[in-house]
């Protein structure tokens, strides 16, 4: 059987993807369903005195209007939720903590009626002082967002390795700087949308989610229900990038359906998507102690992630950031402090390259600043300090399977590092830059899979991994086919449905190709073993002597006796099921957050990027001429899909690097749509947009997820190219013309001071 891994089979629904008949929850309808429209807070922080609903209730078609008080009065609802801290109310209760927070849901017979009536609902507030900056929110006297957390703390972690003070004392030079990344928005093209239906005490909810079991767990907790009383179903997801990884609108949809007594559908308008979840703004203070020859000997990093108004995954996320903060370098003396801070802004969550892009922008910008100051080539500076196989990472674990030398070589080749950039005129400067990053996957986590052999000989993959365009479905088909030694044509795969498909932590953190493949491989072993034992019993031989060839059981020693797998099903048996589990049990969440030490992840991610830019020194406008993204892939399950992920990371990274910024004025988001919040268009994509998957020569190398490896490297690679071109060091993203001009002025001033 030819191996499916390493090939590029066409996805099975390519035609539907192109013609527009691919199934999304957006298209799902239930008979008799009503429509919900959310009403949101207009103030960033205030006591909620009341919500006026009378006028809306008189509108035609309106079934009911639900407020936080209604949810509080229902003894069957826990009104607060949150995977790590149950601090978020379904609808505001007593207080609003950000502009855009849901305060009511109008439920009507049509979407139009719900929308019109929603305009008549308003909150009455006693406004409170608000804070949107993570730095200001930590200062004494800052407004308190949650009374239970008077310092606005939303997670705190510390990592110490070696002796930071003596390391800094031994350094020939110490470089210190502060970097800032703004809040951003994921902008999945498909909005958050869900349909909930209660029947005989059982909740069924269809939702556009990356994590059906996160919703399942959350719904069970919210309504105190046993596992079989909640059914979560997903279809294709129209873009997630981390935004759909936890419960988002599902609490509102489920509560609305419960209180209204009919199925309810809620689809958010685009501004509401911006108000639902975003990327952490972050302020990163970084100090690096180096020897004259460019060896890094000490690094102190302090990260402050802006969590927004509710915790979501920020308490743990701050720890994930901490574990990746030292960068892919050998640093013998390290201290990292990482906190997340409540503010009166939109709640935040993982954003493709989660918690990592903010710190990679800092440490990779510093790499080039230090290298230039010491007169060392930036590529050479990195080579001197790179993490290599067996090196001790500051978490105290020796890392294996490291490929940074290959990644750097590939970046240098792709960008022709040794060839000086061309020139386009006296005011137009060209430069090249590169960056490498380290990330890791969510640990602990669990994936389960079933492989069900049917009477027709087909094998059904049942798992809860979500197809959101990354190609999870066909990837898992390829992996299962190889594990069973059959053609991919024998395998079928459907959508997650918690009544049918077993537990999976989440489709995020680039974990599916690795974690779900491990579960599938163990399910395949289980199924093959059951088949071998059945054949052995039928033939009266030892199961050890049974072999499998292309979906047929064969008696190894005495060729002759053969049995197609399906023939081993007993009469009336619909299917024979193999079960497999992948479960990691260690990780950050098992550690003392102030003393992080030991293995933090099952799986380290390695990626990089290189850029060539042209900077107009008169206007500050930057053109990205070339962009290259790479990652270590172990074995690429599909070379084409890895390329698409690398290129996708590059396009994704271009936005926050160059122009994406969620702006706040008077405490409210002032650009909550694509007119004011720009994302990369086809005109922003450089002509030369390439990618490489670095693969292992070891046949037994792990499969790696590749969905976000290069993303955090894009902004620092571009910033470094601007620095190489002009000497201007921009420390605040995005790299807008205004910031580039300001940095150019600063560079000129310091040059004049230097020569004076």
């Amino acid at each position: 059987m030819a191996e499916a891994i390493g090939t590029d089979p066409a996805v099975r629904d390519a035609v539907q993807r192109v013609t527009g008949t691919l199934e999304f929850v957006l298209d799902h309808r239930i008979d008799g369903m009503a429509f919900g429209k959310v009403v949101r807070s207009t103030v960033p922080h205030g006591r909620l005195i009341g919500v006026q609903t009378d006028e809306a209730l008189r509108e035609p078609g309106v079934i009911t209007v639900i407020t936080g008080a209604d949810i509080q009065q229902d003894p069957g609802i826990h009104e607060y939720y949150g995977a790590q801290r149950a601090d978020q109310p379904v609808l505001a209760i007593g207080k609003v903590r950000y502009a855009g927070e849901p305060i009511a849901i109008v439920i009507a017979e049509s979407q139009h009626q719900a929308e019109r009536a929603a305009e008549l609902v308003y909150g009455e507030y006693e406004e409170l002082a608000y804070v949107t900056s993570e730095v200001q929110a930590r200062q004494p006297g800052a407004p308190v967002i949650h009374e239970e957390w008077p310092d606005n703390g939303c997670g705190q972690w510390r990592l110490e390795h070696g002796d930071i003070d003596s390391g800094m004392r031994r350094a020939d030079r110490i470089y210190s700087a502060t970097y800032h990344s703004p809040a951003a928005s994921h902008v999945p093209m498909e909005p958050f949308v869900g349909v909930a239906h209660w029947q005989d005490g059982k909740l069924e909810i269809w939702t556009s989610s990356q994590s059906p079991y996160a919703v399942h767990t959350g719904m069970r907790a919210m309504f105190s229900l046993p596992a079989d009383a909640v059914r979560v179903r997903t279809l294709n997801v129209g873009g997630g990038y981390g935004s759909k990884g936890q419960m988002r609108i599902e609490p509102m949809v489920a509560c609305a359906a419960r209180i209204a007594g009919c199925p309810v559908r809620i689809e958010l308008a685009r501004d509401e998507v911006f108000y639902t979840i975003g990327k952490h703004a972050a302020t990163v203070d970084i100090s690096t102690g180096v020897l004259r020859d460019g060896t890094i000997i000490a690094r102190r990093i302090s990260i402050n992630y802006n969590a927004g108004a509710y915790a979501v995954t920020s308490p743990g996320g701050a720890g994930q950031g901490l574990s990746r903060a030292p960068g892919p370098y050998v640093v013998p003396n390290v201290r990292v402090d990482s906190v997340a801070t409540y503010t009166n802004t939109v709640p935040t969550g993982p954003f493709r390259g989660a918690m990592t892009s903010q710190i990679a922008f800092a440490y990779e910008s510093e790499s080039d600043r230090i290298a230039r100051d010491l007169g060392i080539d930036p590529l050479e500076f990195r080579r001197r300090n790179l993490l290599r196989k067996g090196d001790l990472y500051p978490t105290g674990e020796a890392l294996k399977d490291l490929h940074y030398d290959d990644l750097l070589d590939d970046l240098a080749d792709a960008i022709e590092w040794r060839t000086p950039p061309g020139s386009s005129g006296p005011d137009i400067k060209r430069g090249k830059g590169l960056a490498v990053i380290i990330k890791n996957t969510l640990t602990p986590s669990r994936s389960e899979a079933y492989l069900a052999l049917r009477r027709d000989g087909q094998i059904e993959i049942r798992c809860s991994s979500v197809e959101m365009g990354q190609g999870a479905a066909i990837t898992l088909v390829q992996i299962a086919a190889d594990a069973l030694g059959v053609s991919p044509d024998r395998l079928v795969i459907g959508f997650p449905d918690t009544d049918v498909t077993p537990f999976d932590t989440t489709t995020s953190s680039s974990r599916t190709t690795s974690s779900m493949s491990a579960a599938l491989q163990s399910a395949a072993i289980d199924l093959l073993d059951q088949l071998a034992r059945r054949a052995a019993a039928r033939w009266g031989v030892d199961p050890q002597g049974i072999d499998h060839r292309d979906g047929v059981v064969v008696e190894g020693a005495k060729p002759g006796r053969r049995a197609p797998w399906a023939s081993l099903l007993v009469p009336d048996e619909a299917e024979l099921v193999g079960h497999g589990v992948f479960h990691s049990t260690f990780g950050l969440s098992q550690m003392d957050p102030m003393k992080v030490h030991g293995p933090v992840s099952v799986h380290w991610h390695q990626g990089g990027a290189a850029a060539e830019v042209e900077v107009d020194t008169e206007t500050g406008v930057v053109r990205v001429l070339r962009l290259h993204a790479n990652c270590y892939a172990g074995h690429a399950v599909s070379p084409l899909r890895v390329l698409k992920q690398n290129q996708g990371c590059a396009v994704w990274g271009l936005g926050p690097a160059m122009f994406e910024e969620l702006q706040y004025h008077d405490g409210a988001v002032s650009n909550p749509n694509l007119s004011g919040y720009l994302i990369p268009s086809i005109m922003d994509v450089p002509e030369d947009l390439t990618g490489t998957a670095i693969e292992s020569s070891d046949a037994f190398a792990e499969l790696h997820g590749v969905g976000e490896m290069a993303a955090p490297a894009i902004a620092p690679a571009i910033a470094n190219a601007i620095f190489a071109a002009t000497g201007a060091r921009v420390t605040d993203l995005p790299l807008s013309p205004e910031r580039v001009l300001a940095a150019l002025d600063a560079a000129r001033e310091s040059e004049q001071r230097g020569s004076a």
Binding site: D8, A10, V11, A14, V15, R17, V18, T19, G20, T21, L22, F24, L26, D27, E59, P60, G61, H112, Q113, R116, V187, P188, M189, E190, P191, N236, V237, G238, G239, Y241, A269, R270, M468, G469, Q470, G471, L640, K644, Q647, G648, C649, A650, V651, W652, N673, L674, S675, I679, P680, S681, I682, M683, V685, L689
Partner: protein, 172 residues
């Protein structure tokens, strides 16, 4: 207003079929196509005519159906991505080019993108150059970043158009 809005009758040709439909005043073409005609290829992302996910052809010209009132489309011909192919489900050359280059990821924006490419390839001023088609697509956003594959598909179409054009010139 008290909800006693009168429905207005509108005649449209949608993907080759003549339709008469009663719509709400203020109803957008996007709503009519999705909710009344179940055209799932027409999708709303921004709702303000910026992102291109709701692109359809009105008498062959690209429009954003999210900001077009259905009443104002009265008497016109609408083509959605679902109407680009042949009557027996054959894919159009544009659709075939997208499939062959795997020019999609989550695919939410892709049907509308094919509509825009279709219009570009129907324009003799545009279809001769990948660069000009690319400019034509500036208003169709893809968050997954499938642009390189989309440009490959466009390039295939431009080249195939050029070779057909040469043949046509030879005939003259």
């Amino acid at each position: 207003m008290n909800g006693s809005e009168e429905l207005r009758t509108v005649q449209l040709t949608v993907d080759g079929t003549e339709r008469t439909v009663a719509v709400r005043p203020g109803e957008t073409l996007l709503e009519t196509l999705r909710e009344r005609f179940r055209r799932t290829s027409v999708r709303q992302t921004c709702g303000i005519g910026v992102c291109g996910s709701c692109t359809v052809l009105l008498d062959g010209k690209v429009i954003s159906s999210c900001i077009k009132l259905t009443e104002l489309a009265n008497g016109h011909t609408i083509t959605t991505a679902e109407g680009l192919g042949g009557p027996d489900g054959q894919l159009s050359p544009v659709q075939e080019a997208f499939v062959s280059r795997a020019a999609y990821q989550c695919s939410f924006c892709i049907p509308a993108m094919t509509v825009a490419v279709h219009a570009a390839m129907a324009d003799p001023e545009v279809r001769t150059s990948t660069e000009r088609v690319r400019e034509y697509l500036a208003g169709n956003l893809c968050r997954c970043g499938s642009y390189p594959q989309i440009l490959q598909a466009v390039d295939d179409l431009v080249k195939s158009q050029a070779s057909q054009g040469l043949e046509a010139d030879g005939d003259r």
